[in-house]
Amino acid sequence: MKDKISERISKDPEFVSLVRNKAGLIVPATLFFIVYYFALPVGAGWFPELMQKEVWGKVNVAYLFALSQFFMTWGLAFLYVWAAAGWDRQEHRLLRKFGADPKE
């Protein structure tokens, strides 16, 4: 019985669009944070002159780039939570349509 519901849900356009919406954010965001993160050890290892450049008083590119990673991480996390609120609404509509209580 449950299997049949899954089968029908999986073919519903709303489900297809939900999965596409999720992937539309998660895939590029994941690629972005991987590239952004590994730029840090690559910079520290192979571009020391650039990283040692002082930008604000004695604070250099290396430290600011490392610090920016924290804000990049928090920024992406909040972007995800904001987008996920929309996915939740879509998910509730979908489950209600198939008679499954989303709250349950």
């Binding site: 899954s6 999986s10 994941t30 520290a44 008083g57 004695k58 290396a62 990673q69 979908l94």
Partner: protein
């Protein structure tokens, strides 16, 4: 007791107060814990912010608190790179793992794999992988605890400290289950954040709250070089520890992809009512963990500037940089407080590891592999988990005592992350998102990730004078090997994956249809 000097007494009393509080919690948790869902998943009634604090408490180990502070104090910027990796890793957890795992599993990571693959082989191998990761990590923590206590509270020998930590973690887990473990982790997170905030505040006060002055003080740190000469270095420059950039990249891969495969972190998502709460809890954890690691700037670099590497080296070594800084800035009472926090930190992490290991053995191996998914007597699963927690505790105490305080165990933590990244994460993601994926792929992926990580460590600079594998962390090679084995194991197997089950898994992972519910009071 009279022989112990006053400052040690303060630390001891503060620590005993923490132990007393956690034992009271364990007592009340034990009265509430009825049934498997209560024992393994705290009844799935932990709220988002509570779980966020508990994840932070589960994750921030003594290695990150004392180890990173010490590394920055001794060599500056490169130590701070660790701080970054430990936080960014949570994006992998948030984007790819937390919600699908909560929706499709029950108590363990293997639940996700067993959903559509042949349950016995995948559970057996996943359980071996979980136990290996947990034991490596735990032994590192136990040896660290023994060494630390000896330094923090003079008069307590290494063996006594290891046994003390071991007995406490077993008591929390055996009697209080997941609920007690959760609250121990929450209290520890609050203590650790408060301690780090105050320590950072005191450092900035020394510089009249002028950030510019603080950073300027880091550009010329003098210390004694290997041949007795005075070396002056800019501690904001990268490259003072890591001479080979590939080491950094390999470690970065282990952190970034391993955190989302650490069994003791994953099981925390089963303690909340639904996937949405799991998501919220990761974000809470990221705020707390991020704030903590940014503060390593102040107490790590602060120790370099205010104490200096030479002072740290002769006053207890790298691990004592943060407590010594607390002593300098806040006196003996604050030193005692930071010491007690460090000990609480270790206890919360080992309790999490113990319940992770025992849950996997009882749920995956005992009930589902040996007893075909059914308990022969009601309550047997929990009973086996309690016995396993006891055995795991005794085993890790024994190994930690046998290894002794002088063995360098830091590589064990890196190894645990590497196994999690090379074995657990690829297989979990393939199971959730790859339609063709088979049992063969899971078994080969987990096995190869596990064996290649351990094998590469054995031929690395930590074990050999002329290493065959030049990097300290195996992830750079072991992750591709794990992925390759997952793929080969799948395409070469004749097994026809069940499409129906995959559709069910996908719908459940994405919508929460049929996910495990919270239990009533």
């Amino acid at each position: 007791m009279i022989a112990i000097v006053d400052q040690a007494n303060t630390a001891l009393w503060m620590f005993l107060a923490f132990v007393a509080a956690t034992l009271v919690i364990t007592f009340f948790s034990a009265r509430q814990s009825k049934g498997a869902s209560a024992y393994f998943a705290a009844g799935r009634r932990i709220t988002g912010w509570q779980n966020g604090l508990a994840i932070a408490g589960d994750y921030m180990s003594a290695a990150s608190f004392l180890g990173i502070a010490g590394m920055i104090a001794m060599n500056g910027y490169d130590g701070f790179l660790y701080s970054v990796g430990f936080l960014v890793a949570y994006l992998t957890v948030l984007f790819l793992v937390a919600e699908p795992l909560r929706n499709t599993g029950k108590y363990t990571m293997a639940d996700v794999l067993a959903f559509r693959l042949s349950p016995k082989p995948v559970r057996a191998v996943a359980s071996v992988s979980t136990l290996t990761v947990s034991l490596f990590y735990m032994i590192a923590q136990m040896v660290g605890a023994g060494v630390l206590v000896r330094q923090l509270i003079p008069g307590i020998p290494y063996e006594a400290a290891v046994i003390g930590v071991g007995v406490l973690m077993v008591v929390y887990v055996v009697f209080g289950g997941m609920l007690a473990t959760t609250w121990v982790q929450i209290i520890k997170a609050v203590l650790l954040i408060s301690g780090s905030l105050f320590l950072s505040y005191l450092v900035l006060q020394k510089f009249n709250f002028r950030l510019g002055e603080f950073f300027a003080s880091l550009t010329a740190i003098s210390s004694t070089g290997p041949s007795g000469e005075t070396v002056t270095r800019n501690f904001l420059h990268p490259g003072l520890i890591f001479k080979n950039p590939w080491d950094q990249i390999s470690l970065g891969m282990a952190l970034l992809f391993g955190t989302a495969g650490l069994p003791h972190i994953l099981i925390r998502f089963y303690t909340v009512p639904d996937a949405k709460t799991a998501r919220v809890s990761v974000v809470w954890a990221m705020l707390i963990i991020g704030a903590f690691y940014i503060m390593t700037t102040f107490f790590g670099f602060g120790a370099a500037s205010l104490l200096g590497p030479d002072y740290v080296r002769v006053n207890g070594g790298t691990n004592m940089a943060a407590p010594e800084l607390a002593r300098l800035l806040g006196g003996e009472v604050f030193f005692a407080f930071i010491s007690a926090v460090a000990f609480a930190t270790i206890l919360a992490v080992v309790a999490g590891l113990t319940i992770g290991a025992s849950t996997s053995f009882a749920h995956d191996f005992f009930v589902n592999v040996i007893h075909h998914g059914r308990e022969s007597r009601p309550g047997e699963e929990v009973k086996v988990a309690r016995i396993t927690a006891f055995v795991v505790g005794a085993a890790s105490m024994g190994v930690a005592i046998l290894l002794g305080p002088s063995v360098n165990v830091a590589f064990l933590v890196g190894l645990a992350f590497a196994v999690a990244a090379s074995a657990n994460l690829p297989v979990m993601l393939a199971s959730l998102f790859w339609k063709r994926f088979t049992t063969g792929g899971a078994v080969w992926g987990l096995g190869t990730g596990l064996v290649s990580s351990i094998g590469l460590i054995l031929v690395s600079p930590d074990f050999m004078k002329d290493p065959i594998f030049p990097l300290k962390n195996p992830a750079l090679l072991s992750i591709p090997l794990g992925l390759l084995a997952t793929w080969l194991g799948t395409v070469l197997s004749k097994e026809q994956p069940s499409e129906e089950r995959f559709v069910e898994l996908t719908v459940r992972a994405q919508t929460g249809l049929g996910a495990e519910k919270a239990t009533d009071h």
